[in-house]
């Protein structure tokens, strides 16, 4: 029974917490209620057996314990405004509890509210929606645990004091707010995907958490961009076994062993992408996923449909312009139309000034120069790239090797 209860906690605790926050209107009270509810389960279920609807049982138990607590507090001092209503509200009939809505979507939108700072949104989402302990979040973002704890405390205080509602936005606001949520999810994914160099196994699997978040969003708000983001993450994640050599060195996309790619993940991503494009309202994530799908579909690097990728990047540049997108578009042009074209496009970008500190701009340029048979210029470009990577790690080692190979 104890194992069953632990499993129930693992599976249901986030969803129960979300409902308790909605019913009680207070995050701290809800967290205490969650713990109390499971304590009650541990006390009663071994004798009574597993209830028919464990989730509803736990929500009820948590709510009753919270109201009890409030009643006791009310006897000692008047409660702040708003809590009186809770005590007066009629008890929810256990029959109605069977139709408990899934409040996780409210939770996600609240944790990702634009009135909170970006770091607060990340920490809060990982803590409250994913259930990651503070230490794990801190380890993942290479940040002291006390800092993360402070961010979460301050974020909850702002939610309470500024009265950020526990709600899913409606109407025209929904699209804009969904963008904020997807951005948080993708940040979590990227932190896991690029932040880890594979050597630190203690860092939490953020890519897994991000994909799990994507799945929840897909279940509760299946719009085209949600499908696009999930597809994009699945495509990128499918390459995880081939991204690093056994010695922990970076392996470029064109050199990866495609036999190691997770075909199931790719198939799922493709299916989601097809649905999203059929629905029509596609955006930047769908476009990025489409580009990733073209890579995934190519049996070898040489068979990659670069002209189509280049075309997709031009569309992406119009709907989600950024220096990084410009760079990727320039690289795609180089791959599709010849290295000289790539060099010209990257040079134009570097002239604009935004990418000067970006190692990838210089290393991409260097790779094209190599392809053109201009090794001296390639060496200069790789050296420039080295100036902009961390002192240690796979990126530096990769670039140094490239530089060495050209000295020969």
């Amino acid at each position: 029974m104890r194992q069953l209860i632990e499993e129930t906690y693992r599976r249901e605790s986030r969803r129960i917490l979300a409902t308790l926050v909605r019913l009680l209107g207070d995050w701290d009270l809800a967290e205490e209620a969650l713990q109390d509810a499971f304590a009650e389960a541990l006390a009663h279920w071994p004798a009574q057996g597993l209830p028919e609807n464990p989730r509803a049982w736990l929500v009820s138990a948590g709510r009753f314990r919270a109201i009890d607590k409030l009643r006791r507090r009310a006897r000692q001092a008047p409660l702040p405004e708003g809590y009186e209503d809770l005590l007066r509200a009629p008890e929810e009939a256990s029959a109605r509890a069977e139709e408990l809505p899934d409040d996780r979507l409210r939770m996600i939108f609240t944790c990702c509210h634009p009135a909170l700072s970006q770091e607060a949104r990340l920490a809060l989402t990982l803590r409250e929606v994913c259930g990651l302990p503070t230490e794990a979040i801190a380890a993942a973002f290479l940040c002291p645990a006390a800092t993360v704890a402070q961010r979460i405390v301050r974020a909850k205080a702002k939610i309470r004091d500024a009265k950020i509602p526990f709600a899913v936005p409606e109407g025209p606001e929904l699209a804009m707010r969904m963008e904020t949520v997807l951005h948080v999810v993708y940040l979590v994914f990227n932190e896991g995907y690029h932040g880890s160099d594979g050597s630190d196994l203690l860092r939490t699997d953020l890519t897994g958490e991000a994909i799990r978040l994507g799945e929840i969003l897909l279940e509760l708000a299946p719009d085209a961009e949600v499908k696009g983001l999930l597809a994009l993450m699945l495509f990128q994640d499918s390459r995880r076994a081939s991204r690093l050599s056994p010695e922990g060195e970076l392996v470029l996309l064109e050199e990866q062993d495609r036999g190691l790619w997770d075909r199931e993940g790719i198939a799922r991503g493709q299916a989601l992408l097809d649905q999203a494009f059929a629905e029509g309202r596609i955006g930047p994530y769908c476009l990025q996923a489409a580009i990733a799908s073209l890579h995934a579909a190519a049996k070898t690097a040489a068979e990659t449909d670069w002209p189509q990728i280049a075309g997709l990047y031009q569309v992406l540049r119009r709907c989600a312009p950024s220096p990084v997108v410009d760079l990727n578009a320039a690289v795609a042009d180089g791959m599709a139309f010849g290295p000289e074209a790539g060099i010209r496009r990257i040079d134009a970008l570097l002239e604009k000034g935004e990418l000067a500190g970006f190692a990838l701009a210089h290393s991409a340029r260097a790779a094209f120069l190599e392809r053109c048979g201009r090794p001296d210029e390639a060496r200069v470009a790789y050296a420039k790239a080295l100036q902009h990577v961390p002192a240690d790690g796979p990126q530096r080692r990769f670039l140094s090797r490239k530089l060495d190979s050209l000295q020969a």
């Binding site: 008047p78 405004e81 004091d161 500024a162 950020i164």
Partner: protein, 120 residues
């Protein structure tokens, strides 16, 4: 719940703006104020005279010290405010977004402190 919307804008830009544009902005403010009053969410609102008319008052070691001008030199200056009564922060943000000054400057939205046991 009550929120104070503090309207910040660059005063020197306003001076440089042509008279016609300023008149349009005045009309927009008039329209916004009428709307917000009609909605029942208006508590108060005023335009402030420019920071050149400001005086900053501090009491240090029992001494009253006045300085000419706003409390600090900032890129955007406080030009006015609205106090509104909104259901929650989402509604307050929606309302603040319709304040004409938000298009060229910034509107800071701050919840008013509710004292549980305020003196009668």
């Amino acid at each position: 719940m009550k929120y104070l919307c503090l309207i910040y804008g660059n005063e020197s830009e306003m001076d440089v703006r042509r008279e016609g544009e300023n008149r349009v902005m005045m009309e927009e403010y008039f329209g916004f104020t009428t709307d917000i009053k009609r909605s029942g969410k208006y508590v108060a609102g005023e335009a402030l005279q420019p920071t050149a008319t400001a005086t900053t008052v501090r009491v240090r070691s029992g001494k009253l010290v006045t300085t000419d001008g706003p409390f600090a030199e900032t890129k955007e200056q406080l030009g006015g405010f609205y106090m509104i009564d909104a259901t929650d922060l989402n509604e307050a943000i929606q309302i603040a977004g319709r304040i004409p000054g938000a298009k060229t400057g910034s509107v800071e939205v701050r919840p008013i402190v509710v004292f549980a046991n305020a003196p009668a």
